[in-house]
């Protein structure tokens, strides 16, 4: 059953200098209990996409298309309904290691806050639930009385996860949940997320710049570049056998542990992501593309079939698949 469906979603920021297209026509679906990863560099629009799901974008953002959450269009909801949906239906795990937690309030109060806001528990029951949640994420219950700065980055991330689970949502959006953490801690947190999602049958939409992290947790992967999905498919295939040159570069940017081949070719990508106000014509990736053809500068690329259950927006894919 489809839980989340993005239909031609677009987000444009209107600033003094003009319009900045951040997300340009993204269509994705996420089934109940499934995990979808969205990868891309900073500026690819992946975080804007995540924020758009609960209408958390700043006022200067214009959102187009449809976001169907359990069949309901988020974009046309009334404010009251929107607030009710927030956290109860879908919650977010931010980069807790940075500033996702209020620095001057005890973490227990912050975990309990959504329970109280949504009227799911009275203060006494909420306290019990907080202890329960802390145990689930592997923290001692007395930690409820700690302040965020008294916790390590990994512990804070666990608190963020406990908070996200508080109202038993059907969907968790994880925005860079392991960035800025040690590799060891990162692995622990990822395992925790995987376990909890499976245990509670929650759908997961995970955003990261790290393709290997996403491939580890998610069933499906979507790679974004300049506001568009450029490749989509089962995560193992996308990670190990990317069809789009950008996905290949992204996969190669993070060496696979224990794979000598990836150490031999740690090739990054030259150049910077394009300025969204001055996107290159044709395929937005062509100025940085190692295998660009002449026609890439003018040809309108779209997601073409790239194998069973896979699509990629690259002219090479169209030629190959078209021939076969």
């Amino acid at each position: 059953m489809t839980l989340l469906e993005l239909d031609d979603l677009s987000v444009t920021y209107r600033i003094a200098a003009g319009e900045v297209p951040a997300v340009r026509g993204v269509s994705l679906t996420l089934d109940s209990g499934a995990a979808l990863g969205v990868a891309g560099e900073s500026g690819s629009g992946k975080s804007t996409l995540a924020m758009a799901l609960l209408r958390l974008l700043p006022r200067d953002a214009r959102v187009g298309g449809r976001i169907l959450l359990g069949g309901e269009d988020v974009l046309t909801m009334k404010w009251g309904r929107m607030r009710a949906v927030r956290w109860a239906e879908a919650s977010i795990v931010f980069q807790g290691a940075q500033h996702g937690l209020n620095p001057v309030r005890r973490v227990g109060d912050q975990i309990a806050e959504p329970l109280l806001v949504h009227g799911q528990a009275r203060p006494e029951a909420a306290r019990k639930r907080v202890s329960e949640l802390l145990e689930q994420v592997g923290l001692p219950t007395w930690r409820a009385r700690s302040y965020p700065h008294e916790l390590s980055g990994g512990q804070r991330q666990r608190v963020m996860i406990a908070m996200a689970l508080a109202c038993s949502p059907r969907l968790i959006i994880a925005d860079e949940p392991t960035t800025a953490l040690d590799v060891m801690v990162q692995a622990q947190v990822l395992t925790l997320i995987k376990e909890l999602v499976a245990e509670h049958d929650i759908s997961l939409l995970m955003i990261s710049h790290d393709l290997s992290v996403l491939a580890d947790v998610c069933d499906q992967l979507a790679v974004m570049y300049a506001g568009r999905v450029v490749e989509h498919g089962p995560s193992g295939e996308v990670f190990h056998d990317a069809r789009h040159p950008y996905s290949r570069a992204l996969a190669a940017a993070f060496p696979t542990v224990g794979d000598p081949a990836s150490r031999m070719a740690p090739k990054g990508l030259g150049g910077d992501p394009p300025d969204p106000m001055r996107l290159p014509g044709g395929c937005a990736f062509h100025p940085r593309c190692p295998v660009a053809l002449e026609e890439c500068a003018s040809l309108d690329v779209a997601l073409w079939l790239a194998g069973p259950g896979r699509t990629a927006a690259c002219v090479h894919v169209r030629e190959k698949e078209g021939a076969s």
Partner: protein, 350 residues
């Protein structure tokens, strides 16, 4: 803000359930070190005051005599009475000893102990400056919050513009204008508010007396608030902007809190901490304002006493009031430091 704490991630701590509960300490230690620093600063003030006031160009006795005719014998007598014939080092220890015993000398102008004069004048100053400060902080914080929350909006532009103007206005000029418009009146429009002193000559008793004083307070208070509240507004506004851009505010919205709940429960309390601290750190600014305002409206407070000492000039009185004002400011600063430390869990364990 929390970045420095993040420098080293203790991998052991991340293990979870096994870790030990930390023991909270340091607040007392912090307070003691701050008090120590304050005592040192106060000592420096006393030392500096001694030397600065002996820098007086010319003979202090002659300065005191103010051109009055005095025979050399009278001058010597006066010099002896003030202890100015002793070596500088003895003078210094006398001065420090007297100051510590709160003997601030005798005013040349009033022929009375400086401490007594200060005692008489401190009440009106606390009344005026305290009232002004409370109003200015409340108004500044309220308006700064509104401006920062809808930043870039019309209210914000209006507030920022107003505070820039008020910031550029000299306190005394604003006082003069208010006095002219509301005190004296312009042309046919009569003034409605008293603008001299703290009470009327024929002040009534009881409750009516309070009203009388209150009416005398309106203009001085207004002047003071107008000048000092602008900075509170700007500080609150920028602290709030700082907080609003933080992720935890987005988290609060994502949790389903209403806009005003996000503001009231998360953004404002966090922005308030640095703001209020800064307010008390800059209490010296309020003191400067009080001197000016009390001078304009002849408010019988410390500021006016200080002003009198300057124009006479009455150096003993100037010295005493200066030390008192400075020490009070240092104490307020230290208090703000320690209270901030108690209230903000971030610095508490840092």
């Amino acid at each position: 803000m929390t970045a420095p704490l993040e420098a080293a991630e203790p991998a052991v701590q991340a293990a979870g359930p096994g870790d030990e509960r930390p023991v909270r300490r340091g607040t007392l230690q912090y307070a003691l070190s701050k008090v120590g620093g304050a005592l040192f600063s106060i000592a420096m003030v006393i030392v500096a005051t001694f030397f600065v006031f002996r820098l007086l160009p010319g003979d202090p006795v002659r300065n005191l005599a103010q051109g009055r005719n005095m025979t050399p014998a009278q001058l010597d007598l006066e010099r002896h009475r003030l202890g100015l014939d002793k070596p500088l080092i003895n003078q210094f220890f006398d001065f420090v000893g007297n100051t510590l015993r709160l003997d601030l000398g005798t005013s040349y102008e009033y022929k009375r102990p400086v401490l007594d004069l200060i005692g008489e004048r401190i009440g009106p100053t606390l009344l005026l400056a305290g009232t002004g400060l409370v109003i200015a902080v409340s108004l500044g914080v309220w308006q700064g919050t509104r401006a920062g929350w809808r930043h870039g909006g019309r209210f914000d532009r209006f507030s920022t513009g107003t505070s820039l103007v008020l910031w550029s206005v000299p306190t005394f000029w604003l006082g003069l204008l208010l006095m002219m418009v509301f005190g004296v009146g312009i042309g046919p429009i009569p003034g409605v508010l008293p603008f001299r002193g703290i009470e009327s000559v024929d002040a009534p008793d009881g409750f009516a007396y309070l009203l009388d004083v209150a009416s005398h307070m309106v203009l001085p208070c207004l002047t003071m608030v107008a000048v000092i509240y602008a900075q509170y507004l700007l500080v609150m506004r920028s602290s709030l902007l700082e907080e609003v851009s933080q992720d935890y505010v987005t988290v609060a919205r994502a949790k389903g809190l209403r806009d005003d709940e996000v503001r009231r429960r998360h953004a404002v309390p966090n922005a308030l901490l640095p703001t209020v601290t800064l307010v008390f750190m800059r209490i010296g600014f309020v003191v400067g304002g009080a001197v000016t305002v009390e001078t304009i409206y002849t408010w019988p407070g410390l500021g006016q006493l200080f002003y009198e000492a300057i124009v006479v000039p009455d150096f003993t009185l100037m010295q005493g009031t200066f030390m008192l004002i400075t020490v009070a400011v240092i104490i307020m600063n230290t208090l703000a430091d320690v209270v901030y430390h108690l209230l903000d869990p971030r610095v508490r364990s840092a």
